[in-house]
């Protein structure tokens, strides 16, 4: 028991942080809550990094402490700090400010539980925590847009979660246990395993906004505060996709051809996300569709699980890269405005911010030597090594389309003049977030070695 608790120490620290931050909000001290969040999540990061390399399980193999779950903790905890700082810049002084911090930590806990799932109950638990906390955050502004967005998030979450739960009961019935590792048996009935897998994909696909479970994404992002949209685009997604990797690791390809199913989902997500993003005029909606596409790229790494030595590395590096570059893009959007027109002439007025945004967007395309490139490089390698060269080709063509998408933000920044002179407020928090992610986007690209096993 004691060793079990030690093994889930990062998750325990997150739980305690969430509760304390909530208490501080109740005491009317949101600022103290933010500070506690920073300390708690920094501690979690430190512990998780220190534990890297551990390969064990906790609570009778129901929770896995491995590369994926530890990296999830090491990526999502510092990311949560950045999102909380952004939320402070956006929501400072508003009512219920501190609840957002607390909910962020709770949702991070959900994502971290997902990433270490060794048992279907943890999958369900992780998705549920994420859905409830995310819904509450998305509804923060309490206007029509945010209520609509939060409602969509909640209903999609409930339905997808119910489908997932229903499908997973078949797995439990088939194997007689809730452990995912019981699926290794190649003599299981393919139809039932397939049914369970599709149902699971509904739940995971919802949290990771994969096509065709993505419909909530643009509306929820648009209605939610920008910092919350940024949060929802990164944390639940990485948790869910790492969870998917934990599941397929155990799933025999001979029973259900999951790489093929996932590759179809990947193609649809990438293509749909990028193509629809081409005609968005709202930057948040554009980034929402771009996150759908980026989820598709993640699947290239998931497909490599058990077939390519690069799979786990690619998921980790792309996870880090995605968290960093996407957060940066949202941070600049928070300060500059959410319409494409708001970006006109930024290159002249604030050249550094314009360069920063360009770097984030080019990194999302996968331009070397930036973080996104290091991630995609490994993802493509993983897909090719697993025999999915055709998928890598489609992913590559999608990268070219995504360039056209992201240039829609770059072009007004440098080549169009602003209609009216606007002064944008970069609070110290926003500046901290975009500058640190800017440095990291370059550093992760050049120093990918740090994240490899």
């Amino acid at each position: 028991m004691a060793t079990d608790l030690l093994n889930i120490f990062p998750q325990l620290v997150v739980l305690v942080t969430a509760v304390v931050v909530l208490c501080l909000e109740m005491a009317g001290r949101p600022r103290a809550g933010l500070w506690f969040l920073v300390i708690g999540m920094a501690a979690t990061t430190g512990i998780a990094v220190d534990m890297l390399g551990t390969e064990t399980t906790a609570f009778s193999t129901t929770f896995r402490v491995d590369t994926l779950s530890l990296w999830a903790a090491a990526i999502l905890s510092p990311a949560t700090i950045l999102f909380a700082v952004l939320a402070r810049a956006e929501l400072k002084g508003q009512a219920r400010e501190g609840t957002v911090y607390s909910l962020m930590v709770f949702a991070t806990l959900g994502a971290m539980i997902l990433a270490g799932s060794g048992d279907v109950m943890f999958l369900v638990l992780g998705i549920l925590i994420g859905t409830l906390a995310g819904m509450a955050m998305a509804a923060h502004s309490r206007d029509d847009f945010s209520s609509e967005g939060a409602m969509k998030y909640f209903i999609y979450g409930s339905v997808a979660g119910a489908i997932m739960l229903f499908g997973l009961t078949y797995w439990v019935g088939l194997t007689g246990t809730t452990l995912i590792s019981a699926l290794v048996n190649p003599y299981l009935s393919p139809v039932i395993v397939m049914f369970g897998f599709i149902a699971l994909l509904a739940g995971i696909g919802y949290a990771a906004s994969l096509f065709p479970f993505h419909f909530w994404t643009p509306d929820t992002f648009e209605g939610a505060p920008v910092s919350v949209a940024a949060y929802l685009s990164v944390v639940p997604k990485i948790g869910a996709l790492f969870a998917l990797a934990q599941v397929v690791k155990e799933l025999p390809v001979s029973v259900v051809d999951w790489p093929l199913i996932l590759s179809v989902v990947a193609v649809l997500s990438m293509t749909f996300g990028n193509v629809v993003a081409l005609w968005q005029d709202n930057v948040i909606r554009l980034l929402a569709y771009s996150t759908i596409a980026q989820s598709g790229y993640f699947l290239l790494g998931v497909i490599g699980m058990g077939q390519s030595g690069l799979a786990i590395d690619s998921l980790v590096v792309f996870g880090v890269a995605y968290a960093v570059m996407n957060t940066g893009a949202f941070a600049i959007t928070l300060a500059e405005g959410t319409r494409l027109n708001d970006f006109k002439g930024v290159g002249r007025r604030r050249p550094w911010q314009a360069v920063g945004m360009t770097i984030f967007l080019l990194s999302l395309v996968g331009m070397p030597p930036l973080a996104g490139f290091a991630g995609k490089f490994l993802l493509f390698g993983s897909a090719i090594e697993s025999g999915y060269t055709w998928l890598a080709v489609i992913a590559i063509l999608n990268s070219a389309i995504s360039l056209a998408v992201y240039m829609r933000i770059v072009v007004p920044m440098f080549f169009q003049e602003a209609e009216e002179e606007q002064t944008k407020l970069y609070t110290p928090g926003t500046s901290f977030v975009w500058i640190s992610t800017f440095v990291l986007t370059i550093a992760v690209g050049l120093g990918a070695q740090w994240f490899l096993t």
Binding site: L362, P368, L378, G381, L397, T453
Partner: protein
Amino acid sequence: MDFSSIPLLTITTFLPIAGALVVMALRPKKTETAYAIGIITTALTLLFTILIWVRGFGPSLSQIEEFSWIPSIGIAYRLGIDGISFPLVLLTALLFLTALIFSTKIKKNANTFIQLVLMLETACLGVFLSLDLFLFYVFFEITLVGMYFVIAKWGHEHRKKAALTFFIYTLVGSLFLLLAFLALYLFSDPNTFDIRELIANPTLTGLAATLTFWGLFIAFAIKTPLFPFHTWLPLAHTEAPAAGSAILAGVLLKLGTYGFIRFPLQMTPDAFREFAPYVIIIAVFTALYGAFVALAQTDIKRMVAYTSVNHMGYLVFGVAIAAVTSTASGMIALDGAVLQMISHGVVTGVLFLLVGALQDRTQTRDMAEMNGLLKAYPILGWLFIVAAFASLGLPGLAHFPAEFQIFLGGFDVYPVAVGIIIIGLPLTTALYLRAIQKVFLGTLPEGFSGVSDLNKRELWAIIPLILATVLIGIYPDSLLSIIHATTNFFGL
């Protein structure tokens, strides 16, 4: 520290970007200061390139500089040079220096322009010097970003469209390159991104080799460009500022042709040999297509752009000949192809600068609107005539020895193909003579009041390139001896 242990290649590669950082840090108010920094940096880069030559390098890849980078998957920072890459490095250093001198008239956002050009130079040098697939790809992609902004910000009327077309089109190409590189890595044993290893043991066979070859082919065919992947070129070349066009044609196209030699020829030689007939058909068609379309142009800059397509056709033809045969004729053709890269870089570079100078004076690129300009601008006119003669392959000027060798080598293997491709020569002769006749001969329009002839700035940029054209023409062995040592070493 003794001479042989100085990391000359690294210094040469990163010197330009260091200059860009200086500009960024000082943010000079006067554009003259900024250009001075830029020109001094590029001049120093050229000096270091010459030092590399002085230090000497063997026929094989030498002067290796290697540092660990991502050891888990066999990626390292590896630089090195041989007789194929050195002439290209020299060309890059020379062209960037002259292009920057020529650009000093650009006053709009001069600091940013200089920084972008310097970044572009580092990227180009890096491509030619990289001995690691990953590093190569990093530099290869950075050139796209740099060139995109140069065209989109400082280009002519349709610059944004041209820049975006260029960016997306060539990105598709380089992404195929990425796939091919991953295939080369995954099929090598032990897995490595080291170009030397991959050349020494080409392990790819069968379908994997075929797919990798075509991946590489598409990537470099878009960059070079070959028909039918050339459609981005006329637009980008025409809309870019003069110095940008010179760099684009002079150096960036060579990233594709250099790639053809370094990757398909050396890493998937069997597949290249197998598919060489198709490549030859494409190359012949490209050469003729480029010449015919150039003949139909009324825009002088567009015409020069299409002659690049023609010259690239000859070049890839030479490489394909070397892929087919391991006899002496293959080597002759390859020598010619490498020399063609340098000749084309110098000649087309200077042609674009001259056309830029012409456009500055006449405010048009339409040949129908220009007449008798030789009287108004004698220096410009005569230099254009020299460069045009070089481009059409007049003996004694840069293109002749290169194209002669390509055709000579090819004649042994594919005489019919040579017979067809050689039709390109009278065509280019015709189109250049027609252009000279229209623009420079004839009578000046009544009441012509032009500005003065080439000024000092333009002469400083153009004269070195004209001298290089003549030097390569009358003494090609200065470069051929270096090139030949390496192609001989290939032992194809």
